[in-house]
């Protein structure tokens, strides 16, 4: 039984590799190139015919193997990094108040966990809310720009120009306007995360094959149906790439907002630790901030895998990495 499934996994791996090579040779979305490879492609398909036209999904075991395979190299790099850190800090090549040992950081993290957790939740809340708002506003703006020439001419230059303003420099103004509460942090997260969503959304919506749009016109479909069935799904790969950038930027927005004026959140804790020369707390805080970014990024990646499993970037069997 086990042997049998292993064997299947092996054959699938081979088939997947062939598929990956084919996708790479044809290039994403290049129908003409795929046509040129007619002979090879059709023979592959014909071989699969008894089981239906479609290759079976990778088994759980094979996915785990792929996952482990994609993970061990970065894990090794991290291990080396921690070892070097520990070595330098434990031997006090650098004074302890500048660089704490990993052990000290761990101790701070565990003893002050309830406090740190509370602040993490605050920053997480600001980030997620900012990201969701930025995604919604960005998508609406992208649709407006992609559909209306007038709005394209009126809005696009302003969106581009607004990106030149250093958003971080607006933070003090936001605090003056909206006080020390959550509002200025969320606004800052929105402002920073908005731009990549708009740019990727517009690029995605504009990438629709003009022949598909001609086709939609001869099918008598209205703009809403064309958007729902053709333009929006077609824009998703671009959009998801933009959202991945946006979610990591949203963390930056929230933390910078907390720097300027706050009574809670990881940014506030960071300033506090800095003032007290508490480097262990500072490191613990940094780790938590990064963790927020990583977790949210992975969540967007999972959403991407669920939404666009058909896209070339997701076909090579690589999971949880930016490909």
């Amino acid at each position: 039984m086990t042997e049998n499934s292993l064997d299947t996994a092996g054959r699938q791996a081979a088939a997947d590799q062939a598929g990956g090579a084919r996708a790479a040779a044809a290039g994403p979305g290049s129908v003409d190139a795929a046509g040129g490879l007619d002979g090879t492609v059709s023979s592959t398909v014909v071989k699969r015919q008894p089981g239906g036209g479609r290759p079976p999904r990778p088994t759980l075991g094979r996915r785990a193997v792929t996952f482990a395979d994609s993970l061990w190299r970065p894990a090794l790099v991290l291990a080396v990094f921690f070892a070097a850190w520990w070595f330098v800090a434990a031997r006090e090549y650098v004074p302890n108040y500048l660089v704490p040992t990993p052990g000290q950081v761990w101790e701070t993290m565990t003893t002050q966990w309830s406090e740190l957790a509370r602040h993490t939740v605050v920053t997480l809340y600001e980030t997620v809310l900012g990201f969701v708002l930025a995604a919604a506003l960005g998508l609406v703006t992208a649709v407006a720009i992609a559909y209306s020439r007038t709005l394209d001419k009126a809005l696009y230059p302003i969106v581009l120009f607004a990106q030149v303003i250093p958003k971080i420099a607006i933070a003090p103004l936001l605090v003056v306007w909206f006080g020390l509460g959550l509002t200025p942090k969320i606004i800052l997260a929105v402002l920073i995360a908005f731009f990549p969503v708009v740019i990727s959304g517009v690029a995605g919506l504009r990438s629709t094959d003009p022949e598909l749009l001609d086709l939609a016109a001869t099918m008598g479909a209205g703009p809403w149906r064309t958007f729902r069935k053709i333009r929006f799904p077609n824009a998703l790969p671009h959009l998801m790439a933009g959202l991945k950038v946006a979610v990591t930027l949203a963390v930056v927005g929230a933390v910078v907002g907390e720097f300027v004026g706050a009574s809670e959140g990881l940014g506030y804790v960071l300033l506090l630790a800095n003032g007290n020369l508490d480097s262990a707390l500072l490191f613990a805080d940094l780790i938590l901030m990064s963790a927020i970014g990583i977790v949210l990024f992975v969540l967007v990646e999972i959403a991407e895998a669920l939404l666009i499993p058909w896209h070339a970037s997701r076909r090579a069997g690589v999971s949880l990495t930016t490909s």
């Binding site: 996708a23 044809a26 979305g29 129908v31 003409d32 795929a34 046509g35 040129g36 490879l37 007619d38 002979g39 492609v41 059709s42 398909v45 015919q49 239906g52 036209g53 479609r54 290759p55 094959d209 022949e211 598909l212 001609d214 086709l215 939609a216 016109a217 001869t218 099918m219 008598g220 479909a221 149906r225 064309t226 069935k229 053709i230 799904p233 077609n234 666009i308 058909w310 896209h311 070339a312 076909r315």
Partner: protein, 264 residues
């Protein structure tokens, strides 16, 4: 030249179609005074060199491009704006990457708001007719170029359109697949009785498929001549290729296209 093209029974009427593109510096005439009437059930093939405006002609009939002057009618109604009573096949299959073959075919039904059950039945018929059985769920990238084009053809036929417009549908396929697709298209045309207008570069394809071959000149595109194809209605690829009538017509066409190109 302003006479109404709507003679009784005409499937497609074109009269005095002229298309000019104006750029900042110059004016290009893509089509020059093209008139052509197509009867229901005809299979008209249009051959001509690249850039002679063949594709533009199809788009005018579909209502996707507005001519600078001239009149077009489809099923005896003047063409204003995109037409729904047609099926359109492009050189590229233009499939939705995220949909399987059957779902791609059913896009036609969804966009038109057709009855679901009826559309599903028709889709299954077409899948069987074009030999796509077993590939209903395959995504476009899992299909060969020929298979993709079969899906596009099924999509164009799903709503049983009275008129099928094809813009170099097999131009990107290899020679063998192309012959096979030609034979299949011929069979489908005989079975459905649809009026077909097919634009192509290939003289063999034009003669094998057409009941009438229209030859166009290089830019500005004009109709040089129209040839009736005197081959049986029921054609077999191998037989047609060895038929002396095929040879004669193909040679005539080649000569005509060659001299038209040389005069340019």
């Amino acid at each position: 030249m302003t006479a109404a093209p709507a003679a009784t029974g005409t499937a497609i009427g074109m009269s005095g179609l002229t298309v000019r593109f104006t750029t900042r510096r110059s004016q290009t005439t893509a089509l020059d005074d093209v008139s052509l009437d197509i009867e229901p059930g005809e299979f008209v093939t249009i051959v001509g060199p690249s850039g002679c405006g063949k594709s533009t002609l199809l788009k005018i009939v579909a209502g996707l491009v507005k001519p600078t002057s001239g009149d077009v009618s489809l099923l005896q109604r003047p063409v204003r704006g995109p037409q729904k009573e047609i099926g359109f096949v492009f050189q590229k299959a233009a499939l939705l990457e995220w949909r399987g073959a059957r779902a791609n075919i059913l896009l036609q039904a969804e966009m038109r708001g057709m009855d679901r059950a009826q559309a599903a039945r028709r889709a299954d018929e077409l899948i069987e007719m074009t030999g796509l059985t077993g590939f209903e769920k395959a995504l476009p990238h899992e299909l060969s170029g020929g298979m993709q084009q079969r899906v596009a053809l099924c999509r164009a036929l799903l709503h049983s359109p009275p008129v099928l417009l094809m813009d170099e549908p097999f131009g990107a396929l290899d020679a063998l697949t192309r012959e096979q697709m030609n034979a299949e298209l011929h069979r489908i045309w005989r079975e459905t009785g649809t009026t077909v207008v097919l634009v192509t570069h290939s003289i063999a394809e034009a003669v094998f498929l057409g009941t009438r071959v229209v030859v166009m000149s290089p830019r500005p595109g004009r109709i040089i001549r129209t040839f009736p194809v005197e081959l049986p209605a029921h054609r077999d690829y191998a037989q047609v290729m060895s038929d002396p009538r095929f040879d004669r017509l193909a040679t005539d066409l080649r000569g005509l296209l060659g001299s038209a190109a040389a005069n340019h």
